[in-house]
Amino acid sequence: MAGPSSAPTPGPGQAPAEVPARRAARRFAEVACPPEVRADRRADRVLGEFGLMLGCLPPAARKALAAALVLLDQGARLYPPSRGRRFARLDDRVADAYVRALLARRGAAGAMVRRLKGFITMCYYELPEVQREIGYDPAPYIAAVSRRRLESYGPQIRAGEAAVFIPGTGPADGENP
């Protein structure tokens, strides 16, 4: 019989997928995320989140993102200011200019880099301390309003929940009881 939950996709405590082109991914995180990503091993944790997200993508999407990272890395050699260096080895100024140029591109290449940027920055803003720094701390708020709900409407809530199991009936007439 069922336990408390099931997790067919990677969840807490499960190993993340290996991040492809790891050095390029790390460099991309340093450029795409705010400068504070370099503090307190945040970049490593962003890559950890990134690996977890990759783990729940279908194989084809994982391969596409891996290919995008390799292209991002090696494509820098064709970017004149890079002087033939790959993205992972560019200094901050050139790396920033390269990413800016890619993000401004139209077509599939630009769309893919924008998607990669969305992915990486999403992982950065998933870090709890980053959320607290911008004033987002939902857990205490959720706890408080959940308590208020039960205090204000406890009997009606219990009646509504129980009604789910009564054949052919439910709470009265389309409004909260």
Partner: protein, 508 residues
């Protein structure tokens, strides 16, 4: 321990089962069917590809939610010009676990159009009213308690009303919603009356069996009818587990507008109309980001409190919906230091946008090695509607006092007032620059009484394949123009009743 619910951890070897009706998917259409049929005494098995995640497991955390409650981490892509990001729920309860809980009856004009254009029976307003009433009762559909409405919703409402527009409070399936603003990550109180906490437990209590972590690979057939389904158990990390065979003379597919046609097509089914997997509508959405001087803290308060209905006859619905920091960072047109500066003002941001009733030009294809892929071509008319919806949304936000507004067009500069907005939009906005997403996919197994125009008939039965039914938004003959959940549930209830009336077929 929940009686009747099985997850992958409970399954050691191959499964071979038999029942009266097997239902593929446990979202709005599948769970409703399951509860209705079980109540009538039918032996029902529900197969859900996603996991079982109870209310107690839900907390704030976008990454966790995307990984456990959504298909492919919420990162579906409809390819075309532009790409459209879409999401589908994949868990027990389906998309109802992660939607905003908006519960609206199908507009009468939409039902009339469907009836007239497709010759559909028993689908006018008066036909569906009893089902809507029952749904709204069972799912506690009603207005928000006032203390749960956040400042972001209030500002958007004020801006729209300052423009003289019709704004209405949202009706939601909620039992005294606390306003945690965690709808898209799973309601942590169970106040949102998703299928996870209503029709699924109701079906279980009435004897249905629900198997989570079970992916259906094929619908099986013998002669013109169906004989059941085959599939496999999904192990952690998506690994393939033991095989699964379910024998049933009635198969109800309720996997959503992408997975349903994909399953039917890989089962070798074709529709005479050629419309299976075609005619995809997806209600394109776009996000306008507005910065205010005041502290808004949009994450404190219900997910979506109001809708601007002023432009509904044009196919436009406007609303304010808070995005979590990870989601907002992903869509903001900035990176590096600039992104950090914008996000530092997170509590001063209101996000809002239009939902466009589109013309249905997408299709689903099973691509070897890649699985179901979505292709969608935004028409010029729909692109113009998106731009108009963005303009109207920005006007409302500026009227509410926004200091700066970012538009969802690649490379567009921020605008600081109505004049700048007008000047910017006086130039054509390239279709490919639109940043779009979708949470309402529909129409890929459309209803029509004419087998030459549709895939299923008036009551969801696949033309020419007795015993095979579709019960999700795939059956819509066109975009519904509003949040589709209640329409899906009403059709499922109605179609279940029809099945029960003809229940000889349902004997196990």
């Amino acid at each position: 321990m929940i009686s009747g619910l099985t997850t992958q951890g409970d399954v050691a070897g191959d499964l071979s089962l038999e029942c009266g009706a097997v239902i593929v998917g446990s979202g709005a259409g599948g769970a409703t069917m399951a509860a209705e049929l079980a109540e009538a005494g039918v032996d029902v098995i529900v197969l859900e590809e996603g996991g079982y995640h109870p209310t107690e497991s839900f907390a704030a955390g976008t990454g966790r939610a995307l990984r456990t409650l959504y298909r492919d981490g919420g990162g579906g892509l409809a390819f075309g010009r532009p790409w459209v990001l879409y999401t589908e729920g994949r868990c027990v309860g389906g998309s109802t676990v992660v939607n905003g809980g908006m519960s609206w009856r199908t507009p009468a004009r939409v039902l009339d159009r469907w009836a007239e254009q497709e010759g559909l029976r028993a689908i006018r307003e008066q036909d569906l009213d009893p089902y809507f009433t029952a749904i709204e009762s069972r799912l506690s559909v009603g207005l928000q308690d006032p203390e749960t409405i956040g400042r972001d919703s209030g500002l958007f409402k004020a801006g729209a009303e300052a423009r003289g527009w019709n704004v209405i409070p949202n009706r939601r399936n909620q039992l005294h919603c606390a306003g945690t603003n965690n709808c898209s990550s799973g309601c942590p109180t169970g106040a949102k009356r998703s299928m996870l906490v209503t029709s699924v437990p109701r079906a279980l209590s009435l004897g249905a069996r629900v198997f989570a972590d079970c992916r259906v690979d094929r619908v099986t057939r013998a002669g013109p009818g169906v004989t059941g389904v085959t599939g496999h158990v999904v192990r952690p990390g998506g690994r393939r587990g033991p095989r699964l065979t379910v024998r049933a003379r009635t198969v109800i597919v309720a996997g959503g507008a992408v997975q349903t046609p994909a399953l039917l097509m890989r089962s070798g089914l074709r529709s005479a109309s050629g419309r299976l997997g075609r005619s995809l509508s997806l209600h394109p959405n776009a996000v306008v980001t507005a910065f205010f001087d005041e502290d808004v803290a949009g994450w404190q308060g219900v997910h979506q409190a109001f809708q601007v209905r002023e432009f509904l006859s044009e196919g436009l619905l406007l609303t304010a919906t808070n995005l979590t920091p990870p989601m907002l960072a992903a869509v903001l047109p900035a990176y590096g230091r600039e992104l950090g500066e914008l996000m530092a003002r997170y509590n001063h941001i209101v996000t809002a946008g239009p939902l466009v009733s589109d013309t249905g030009t997408g299709l689903i294809r099973n691509v070897p090695g890649l699985g179901p892929q979505v292709f969608y071509q935004l028409t010029d008319r729909d692109a113009a509607q998106v731009v108009r919806g963005v303009e109207l949304t920005a006007q409302a936000l500026l009227a509410a006092g926004a200091r700066r507004v970012l538009l969802p067009f690649d490379g567009a500069p921020g605008v600081r007032g109505p004049d700048e907005l007008r000047r910017l939009l006086a130039r054509p906005v390239p279709k490919r620059s639109l940043q779009l997403f979708s949470i309402h996919l529909m129409g890929t197994a459309r209803m029509s009484e004419d087998p030459g125009r549709g895939v299923v008939g008036s009551f969801g039965e696949f033309h020419g394949v007795p015993g095979l039914f579709v019960s999700d938004a795939s059956v819509f003959p066109g975009p519904v123009g509003i949040n589709p959940m209640e329409t899906v549930i009403a059709l499922a209830m109605r179609n279940a009743q029809r099945l029960i009336e003809r229940r000889g077929r349902l004997a196990g």
